[in-house]
Symmetry: C2
Subunit: 333 residues, 2 copies
Amino acid sequence: MEDVAAEAGVSRTSVSRVMLGQGKVSEETRHRVRAAADRLGYVTNVMASELASGGSRTIGLLLRDAANPAYGLLFTELQKAAHAAGLTLISMTISADDRGRGQVASLHRLVGMRVAGLIVATGGVTSGQLEPFRARIPIMRAGRPETSAAIHAVSYDEEDNARQLAVHVAEQGHRHIAVLVTEEIESYPEFVRGTTMVSVLEERGCTVRRVSVRGAGDGVEKVVALAAAGEVSAIMAPSDPRQLVVLRALAAAGLRVPEDVSVSGCDGIMPGADLLGLTTVRLPVEELARRTVSHMADLIGDEPPSGVVSERLLGTLVPGRTVGPLARARGSV
Amino acid sequence: MEDVAAEAGVSRTSVSRVMLGQGKVSEETRHRVRAAADRLGYVTNVMASELASGGSRTIGLLLRDAANPAYGLLFTELQKAAHAAGLTLISMTISADDRGRGQVASLHRLVGMRVAGLIVATGGVTSGQLEPFRARIPIMRAGRPETSAAIHAVSYDEEDNARQLAVHVAEQGHRHIAVLVTEEIESYPEFVRGTTMVSVLEERGCTVRRVSVRGAGDGVEKVVALAAAGEVSAIMAPSDPRQLVVLRALAAAGLRVPEDVSVSGCDGIMPGADLLGLTTVRLPVEELARRTVSHMADLIGDEPPSGVVSERLLGTLVPGRTVGPLARARGSV
DNA sequence: ATGAAAGCGCTAACAC
DNA sequence: GTGTTAGCGCTTTCAT
C-alpha cells in the first residue's frame, strides 16, 4: 500500500479511501491511485483491513459434507444469496463421518476469523456447542430442526415431510411397513423423519417394523429380509441416499419395486431422481438459502431484530414409481 | 487477550505462546492460561494472528458449483485432504451460470485474504486471469486440463476418458453416432471430451453427427430427432448430468435405451448412477484431491519444488445398461 | 480534499 | 520461563 501511495504520489490515507470507495477524494486522485494499484497488482489485505476497521461483511458457513447433493445444492444457493446480499461467504465442510470434535474445531476457526455471522448447516454441532458464541456473533441454523428456542433457525419441516410420505404410503394401502430410523446422533433430520413416520403410520393403524440404522448400509439387510419374507409390503427410508442403498439391496435380492415391495426416501435433490422414479419429498433448498441469508443480513445489520428467528419450510411430495398400491397376493401381508 | 492475560496473571506474550502451543511455557502457566481463556470464552483472532506472523496455513479454494455432485465430492475430498495435511481450506463457489466476472472477483477476495495458496477448481477462470497472482502465491489448478504450461495442475485426463468411452461405444458395433459438444467457454472439460470423442470415432471410421450445445438442454431435441429418425444408433453426452437430460428426452419421445439408441456420459459420481445403469467414466476425484493438496503443501512449504507440477489422472470406464450392442434391424443405421 | 498519527489484536525478536 | 518492545497493513479520527 505504501508503494501504491508513493507510485501515485499521495498518502496511504488516500489510497485507503480510494480502495474503500468512500469519503472525499478528488476524481484526479482516485484515478491516479487506481492506475498505480493496477500497475503494481495491489490487492487490499482483507485481514489488515478488517482488523483495523473492526467490521466485516464476511459470514462463515459450517457445512455438512457437500458430497451429499442436498448439501451441495444448499451450499451453492447460500453462496448465491449471500453474493446478492453483498456478503462474502467463507465455508468449511465437515465430512459426514466426523462426529463432533472436528466440527467444533472448525467452528472455532471460523469464529477466530472474526466473521460477522455464522451459518451452521450441519446437525453434527449441538445447540450447546453453539451457545458460547451466541453472545459474540449472530448464529443461524440452516436446515436442521433446532431444538433450542434461543437459536435462530430456518429449517425444513421434517415432521411434515415425514407425515406427507407416511400418509402417501398408507394411502396406497400398505399396512405392514418397515421404517429405517437412524440414531439421533448420526443424523438428526433423518432421526426426526424416521420417528415421525413411525408414529404417523401407527396412528393410522399400520403395523410398523422399526429398524435402526447406524452405519451407511446398516439395517438394510434386515428390511430386505422382512420384505423377502413378506412381512412388510413397504420400506420407508429416511433419506434418498439411503433409499438408493435399499433399492440396490432389493435388486440384489431379486425383489421387484414396487411389485414386491414399495420404497420411499426423502430429499428430492438427487439429479436423476426422476428417472429412477424415486418417491420422495423435495426439500425447499433454494427458499431455505434465501431466507437464511436474508435473516442473517438483518442480524448483522445496524438494527438487528430482537426476537428469535424460527421458521419451518414445507417440502413437496414427489410421488414416484417406487411406491405402488398394495398387491394383495403376497405372503402374510 | 489482554483480559485473559490479566485473569491468568501473566503477560500477553505468554498467552500467545500457550494458544499457539509453541515455545517455552511452564506447565503451571499453560494450565492457568487455558483455564482463563475457557472461562472468558476467548478465541484467538486469526486475522490479527496471521497479520502479525505474516504466515498462514490457510489455503483458498475456488470451486465450481457444488450442486454438481462431481464438484461437491471434490470439495469434500479436498477438505478432508487439507485437514489431514494441517491446512485450513476456505472456499467460495461460483454458480455454473456465472461466467468470468464474478469468478475473478472471488479470486481477488481470496487473494486479499492473504491465503497461503490457491486451488482453482473451476474452468471458468482462464490461465490468463490467474497469471497476475502467480508470482504472489502458489496456484494449483484441480480438475480442468490446464493449457498454460506455467501453471501447476493436477487434472483428469479428459482425452483418455473420452477415448475410453468412444472405443467402448464403437466396439458395441455402433457406426452412426451423435456427439454432444459444448462450447469451450461453457465447460472446458466437456468441450475437450466432446471433441476428443468425435475424433476418436472418426478415426475408427464412424459417421459422427456433431451437435453443439449451449444451454443446459440445448441440442438435446436435435439428437433425439436424429435417433428417432434412425440416423444414429448411439448418443454420446459429455457429462452425466447431460446424459440424464438426454435420457429424459428420449423417454419423453418414447425411445427405449439401449434397444432403440445407446447413450453414454462421463463423470461417474452421481449417486444412483449404478441403479440407472449409466455408461460413464468414473473420475478419480479422491485421488485428484489428495494429490492436489499434497502438492500444495509442498508449494507453500519451506523448500518449494522448482518445476511445474503437471499430472493427469486416468478415469475408469463403467459400462452400463445404457449402451448396448447395435441392433441391426432399425432404419438406415 | 488530503495527510499525520493512533491504534486494531496479535506475534516475534530480544532481553531479563 | 517470562516480559518488553516493535511492528504486521490497514482504517480512522482529527487537523490542515
